[in-house]
């Protein structure tokens, strides 16, 4: 595989990953500001 092709593919995967992670974090922060404490505690991982 050409190095240039590899870096383009790698950049695309990283960009997609960063975008998805950022969207999830923003969505989570938004939901956190509106969530019920009871629901939050009830869904704790044990």
């Amino acid at each position: 595989m050409k190095e240039r092709t590899f870096y383009i593919l790698l950049s695309a995967v990283v960009a997609l990953g960063v975008a998805l992670t950022a969207a999830l974090v923003i969505y989570t922060a938004y939901e956190y500001n509106n969530c019920s404490i009871i629901t939050y505690i009830a869904t704790e991982l044990w």
Binding site: M1, K2, E3, R4, F6, L9, L10, V13, V14, L16, G17, V18, L20, T21, L24, V25, Y27, T28, E31, Y32, N34, C35, S36, I37, I38, T39, Y40, I41, A42, T43, E44, L45, W46
Partner: protein, 323 residues
């Protein structure tokens, strides 16, 4: 041009993708999953489904009692409002005393002319002070709510109509089942940082608080006796939370959720222990109106709430009577 071995390139790209997938799954499992459910954003803020207790609706959980007070369409009906935790009470009051058709619920909210409104504690106190609601069913007001009323020239009249337990909650899998008042204050001042200091597992304590001005937050501030509360902890979301609310609200209002109430000073907040006064954190709740509101039906309704019929209704909904 330089070339990279195809298998190496594919492995690196797959590895990077796997890192992002793992990261996102971890964020989802640790955090997102805990703050998302099927309720609307408005319902989640208040953690109550208004339709469950909608007066006169088919299958409503609003309670009705035989009442010697029965308003008709010709009466000027007091507009009722209040806290989420007390919505079942005033929805039941309307179902027992108000005429059918006086409560209008459309598009997920009460209509402007409806005799029942739902603004929750933060806005219900303001609505009473401004004259937009006649009676608010709430816990004791915060300093800010009293100051707002004074700023608009309103004196608030607080009529105690029932009692309720103020409770602390944890996940039902948390092995801690009870704490002393001093330990609870210690958690919220930051003195205790890990559950293993309180007989629990080695996990960070994540103390959750409510919005300033909400009923439970005002009660919590009284409970803290002026000590400064912390509002969360770094990486607390990796630990185990503790929060607070009112007993009936935890037991009856939310759907089946995996939380449990803690015994305080060795006494569990059962309805019986709240009623007989052995549970230490019992608070009164009020029907709140403007002191200068001399509408006849407001006074009739306040008197009815303190009558045996009104007190029976409060008990039938699930709270402790005051008389």
């Amino acid at each position: 041009m330089d070339r990279i071995k195809k298998s190496t390139a594919v492995a690196m790209i797959v590895l990077i993708a796997a890192v992002f997938i793992s990261l996102n799954v971890s964020i989802y499992m640790l955090f997102t999953r805990r703050v998302v459910d099927e309720m609307t954003v408005e319902e989640r803020k208040d953690a109550i489904s208004l339709t469950d207790y909608l007066p006169f609706a088919d299958g409503t959980r609003a309670v009705t009692v035989g009442s010697s007070l029965a308003f008709t369409d010709r009466d000027k009906l007091p507009v009722l409002d209040g806290a989420a935790a007390l919505y079942p009470v005033y929805a039941s009051v309307a179902a027992s005393v108000y005429p059918e058709g006086s409560v209008v619920f459309e598009g997920g909210a009460f209509s402007e002319g409806s005799a029942v409104q739902f603004r929750n504690t933060l806005r219900a106190y303001r609505a009473v002070a401004d004259g937009d609601a006649d009676i608010a069913f709430c816990a004791a007001p915060s300093k800010e709510q009293l100051e707002y009323a004074a700023s608009v020239g309103a004196e608030l009249e607080l009529v105690p109509i029932g009692r309720e337990g103020f409770v602390f909650i944890v996940n039902e899998d948390n092995p801690v089942s009870g704490l002393t008042s001093e330990q609870l204050r210690g958690i919220y001042t930051g003195r205790y940082k890990n559950w293993n200091e309180l007989g629990g597992p080695n996990r960070i304590i994540d103390p959750k608080t409510r919005l300033a001005g909400s009923g439970s937050q005002t009660v919590m501030e009284h409970f803290m006796n002026g000590e400064q509360m912390i509002t969360g902890r770094m990486f607390g979301f990796l630990g185990a939370s503790v929060g607070y609310s009112f007993r009936f609200y935890v037991e009856a209002v939310p759907r089946d959720l995996s939380v449990k109430m803690l015994a305080v000073d060795g006494v569990f907040p059962s309805a019986e222990n709240i009623k007989n006064g052995t549970y230490p954190l019992v608070t009164e709740f009020y029907a709140v109106c403007r002191a200068d509101n001399d509408e006849e039906n407001v006074r009739r309704l306040l008197d009815w709430l303190l009558s045996d019929e009104g007190q029976s209704l409060i008990e039938a909904v699930g709270y402790a009577r005051i008389k």
